[in-house]
């Protein structure tokens, strides 16, 4: 199973709203981050948030956009604008 899954991470208010901080997610083949968001957003109303412009995505710990390709074993993180410092 690990061969066709990716890790999904959620942080801060987004994690609270979705009620999940991390999960393994199965994909059948390479897909774009935009396609991944579309799939996840079909889970329910709260999940529409993932498509909001202010929600950021990191692929393997680097910020990326919807065109980026996601493949088996990748780590994808979703989070609101950062507020450290």
């Amino acid at each position: 199973m690990a061969g066709n899954t990716i890790s999904l991470l959620y942080f801060a208010k987004l994690a609270d709203d979705l009620g999940v901080t991390n999960e393994q997610y199965s994909i059948s083949e390479k897909l774009s981050l935009g396609e991944l968001k579309l799939q996840l957003s079909q889970r329910g109303e709260q999940w529409q948030d993932l498509k909001a412009a202010h929600i950021k995505c990191a692929l393997n710990q680097t910020l990326c956009d919807d065109n980026t390709l996601v493949k088996f074993g990748d780590e994808v993180a979703f989070f609101p604008p950062v507020t450290g410092g």
């Binding site: 991470l9 942080f11 801060a12 208010k13 609270d16 202010h54 990191a58 710990q61 680097t62 910020l63 993180a77 989070f79 609101p80 604008p81 950062v82 507020t83 450290g84 410092g85």
Partner: protein, 143 residues
């Protein structure tokens, strides 16, 4: 040098590590502290982060500062977890031959950290919202 840690840090210890005696004519430090956000003195302040990515981003910020200005040493330390009002959150320190570079690099590093490093603050039950002034501060370094 960058560090992400729960425990407090000694500003003076970190500052002295930055200095190259005889070379460093200037040392600029920034320390960020938890401000009062509630009338309830028991209210908790939490700093969440994205382990791994945080360190990568902080290292990149340090490298950018070092390639942009002539510096002796730089340091970024950011705490995570539960903190109390008044406690130290973040340290950014720079030593350099001349002061203009030290000021610019120190402000650059905290400005970019504020908009790019994956930390999130929660004051009591409320996640802190991103401030537009922080985006403006970061943008001034892109010009």
């Amino acid at each position: 040098m960058i560090r992400v840690q729960q425990q407090d840090f000694s500003v003076e210890h970190e500052r002295l590590l930055l200095l190259r005696p005889g070379d460093s004519g200037a040392c600029v430090t920034f320390v960020g502290h938890v401000r009062r956000f509630s009338d309830n003195p028991q209210a908790t302040f939490l700093l969440q982060h994205y382990p791994g990515m945080t360190e990568k981003v902080l290292q990149k910020i340090e490298q950018q500062a070092q390639s942009r200005w002539k510096l002796d040493n730089t340091c970024i330390i950011h705490r995570v977890g539960e903190l109390k009002v008044g406690e130290q959150i973040v340290f950014v320190g720079v030593s350099s031959p001349h002061r203009a570079e030290a000021f610019a690099a120190c402000e650059f590093m905290i400005d970019i950290l504020k908009t790019e490093a994956p930390f999130w603050k929660k004051e009591g039950d409320q996640w802190v919202e991103a401030r537009d002034s922080d985006n403006k501060a970061a943008e001034k370094w892109m010009r």
